[in-house]
């Protein structure tokens, strides 16, 4: 009997171990998320309603529940909010326009060059984001090829410059987020069964109609993923505006950065961060609902 008991309990303990396994596997990720996401978010939320200590030094705040921080922060930075979303929108549209043909070409027309082209898409990641953005200063600068070409073709006047402008900021963002658009697009185009395209041709659709009625709808998951991966970081970006912009192209990321590090106005910076997050969340939710790609993924 004792032996039977022992073996029975052994079985249950094995079962318990088995049921614990998923949690053990999840644990490292959960600990990571808790430490580096949940805790900072809570901390940020606390900071966002703090008020300056009366008679204290700059940067000294005490915990209150001053929710009007949000209202003040939003009202004072409406312009930068609008601009952030506008630039991010422009960059997303441009990136989509560039990435779609690129991804299409790699997925359907590249033959044995496919892998090399994919590596080239990712190649920019081997250099720092900062360095690549600074490089655009050179590309668009007075000595650069772009301005010479545009002036030569009389598209812009001899006085017009390209750097320190909204144009440069949007161009920089488009460039920097292009791989995030290209890769999901490529993945969903690649997944399309070429026989469905042949079937469309067989059913009286010419190449353009096939593209419009079959290729595009079937690549929608990639379009949605790509636009989100571009729009979300672009809306919060501050490097492009800082390096390629001027005081009139400031985005919300630049405001948050200067509030945190220059003015040491932590509550406003925190409130702005939260507002940005909420705004993006709402926009994204509406967008996904509208795109209606749930069934395709």
């Amino acid at each position: 009997m004792a032996f039977l008991h022992a073996s029975a309990s052994k079985v249950t303990s094995l079962k318990e171990k088995k049921s614990l396994l998923p949690y053990l596997l999840l644990a490292p990720g959960m600990i990571w998320l808790f430490t580096f996401f949940i805790l900072p978010i809570v901390n940020l939320a606390q900071t966002s309603t703090q008020t300056p200590v009366k008679g204290g030094d700059t940067g000294q705040y005490e915990q209150t529940l001053r929710f009007s921080n949000y209202v003040d922060a939003f009202i004072n930075n409406k312009e930068q909010f609008t601009r952030s979303f506008f630039y991010a929108f422009l960059a997303t549209v441009l990136a989509l326009a560039i990435a779609y043909p690129l991804a299409y070409g790699i997925a359907f027309k590249s033959g044995r060059w496919k892998n090399i082209l994919l590596v080239l898409v990712i190649a920019p990641f081997f250099t720092s984001f900062l360095l690549r953005t600074i490089a655009w200063k050179q590309i668009l600068g007075e000595e650069g090829p772009v301005i010479a070409a545009l002036r030569g073709l009389n598209i812009i006047s001899q006085q017009t410059t390209l750097t320190a402008s909204a144009f440069a900021v949007v161009t920089g963002m488009t460039y920097n987020f292009l791989p995030f658009m290209t890769l999901p697009l490529y993945a969903s185009l690649e997944r399309i069964d070429p026989r469905t395209l042949e079937a469309a041709g067989d059913l009286y659709a010419n190449a353009f109609t096939t593209f419009r009625k079959v290729t595009v709808p079937l690549s929608m998951p990639g379009v949605v993923a790509g636009t989100l991966l571009t729009f979300i970081p672009a809306a919060g970006d501050y490097i492009n505006a800082a390096i390629l912009g001027n005081p009139n192209t400031k985005m919300i990321g630049n405001v948050i950065e200067s509030r945190f590090f220059k003015i040491v106005d932590y509550p406003t910076a925190a409130a702005l961060s939260f507002t940005l997050m909420a705004a993006i969340l709402i926009l994204v939710t509406i967008y996904i609902r509208k795109a209606g790609t749930e069934e395709l993924v």
């Binding site: 069964d193 079937a199 041709g201 395709l296």
Partner: protein
């Protein structure tokens, strides 16, 4: 855009068509006429060029040389969407993002046809799936998807319907049922069906004309019965059902018959059924035509003696024997289980006989094993 209804109707004629991939000729100088309204099967092992032929008819591949005509129109250089031809693809290739209704309506909408609703409803009724109109393809079973793929093609009333291994993905029972249904639908709609398959049973059940293809060429073309009873080549004899092919030498004639010596024994073959070029022949006999008895039984017709049963497989309706002959060849015999006599046993000494009219003779220079090493069920 395309007038699928009138002008381009008639027989499909493939004239001296070659398709090369590099220096490999997938289709080699193929000439073929498919009569309007027929159920035509292109039958052959994988790699024989049948699918390439189908794709050239559809316009999905361009012939390296030769022309394709539909009725009086040369369609060789027309794009797929300009041809009044529709295809049922091997994996169905339904549009996953569209409902069943929209899948079927796709071709009609492209051609700007009015009364889409009526046409779609009608064809859904024909394939007996009207209740699935609003589903997505992924929600359907394989058999249902197969019917929708068929509906999506025939709703356009094409001059020609191409079926690329349409039943390959279905299980055996469903396949049998669909074979009968496809044949019925073809009779119902009266469209020319061109059916590509490696499954000889499927081709024989449905088609009224079969072209057996091998290495980019047509080996033989004819009705299922013609091909089965009177194969012209060893490949056809072995690929379409099974055949016993025995080497022999023509030794003389006896009225309408040739007298052929096979390893010291003599059999008769009708002169009209001989394809031999000289005195060397392959004498062919189908396994189910042979009667098999224990040594000592009186028999008539062509008789072969000296066989020993090497293997017996009981398969319900019949028993299959492998009989080893003195010249080390194994012959196959099917015997109907209709006489209540227990089957013969392994090691039994037997005599075999058959009516001389069932024998066919192929050219003796042919490889007796051609077409038998390709397994027509898998391919």
């Amino acid at each position: 855009m395309v007038d699928a209804s009138s002008s381009t109707r008639g027989d499909l004629r493939i004239v001296s068509v070659t398709k090369s991939f590099g220096d490999f000729n997938a289709v080699d100088d193929l000439t073929l006429t498919i009569p309007e309204g027929s159920f035509f099967a292109l039958l052959g092992p994988s790699g024989c060029g049948k699918t390439t032929t189908l794709r050239m008819i559809a316009g999905l591949e361009e012939p390296t040389a030769g022309t394709i005509h539909l009725g009086a129109t040369d369609i060789t250089n027309k794009r797929p969407y300009q041809r009044p031809i529709n295809t049922v693809f091997q994996n169905y290739a339904l549009f996953p993002h569209l409902s069943i209704y929209e899948n079927i309506a796709f071709g009609l909408r492209r051609r700007g046809i009015k009364d889409v609703q009526e046409a779609v409803d009608k064809v859904l009724k024909l394939v007996e799936l009207p209740h699935l109109a609003q589903r997505k393809p992924a929600q359907l079973s394989g058999g249902q998807q197969q019917r929708i793929a068929l509906a999506r093609a025939i709703v356009n009333r094409p001059a020609l319907l191409l079926l690329d291994e349409p039943l390959g993905a279905l299980d055996l029972k469903l396949r049998r049922q669909m074979q009968i249904e496809l044949k019925w639908i073809q009779t119902e709609v009266g469209i020319t069906f061109v059916h590509v398959t490696h499954d000889q049973e499927e081709a024989m059940t449905m088609a009224d004309t079969i072209a057996v293809m091998n290495e980019g060429k047509v080996e033989q073309m004819g009705s299922p019965a013609d091909l089965y009873d009177d194969p012209e080549t060893a490949f056809v004899a072995n690929f379409l059902g099974q055949s016993n092919l025995i080497q022999g030498i023509i030794e003389g004639t006896d009225g309408d018959a040739l007298v052929v010596g096979v390893f010291g024994q003599k059999i008769k073959i009708m002169k009209s059924r001989s394809r031999a070029h000289d005195s060397l022949v392959l004498a062919g006999i189908r396994p189910e035509k042979i009667r098999i008895q224990k040594v000592g039984t009186q028999m008539s017709g062509n008789i072969l003696t000296g066989g020993v049963i090497a293997d017996v497989s009981y398969i319900g309706v019949s028993t299959q024997y492998q009989v080893e002959m003195p010249w080390k060849q194994e012959l196959i015999v099917f015997e109907q289980n209709d006489d209540g006599v227990p089957p013969l046993e392994k090691g039994d000494q037997v005599v075999m006989s058959w009516e001389p009219i069932f024998t066919f003779a192929l050219d003796g220079a042919e490889d007796a094993r051609a077409g038998s090493e390709v397994n027509p069920v898998e391919a």
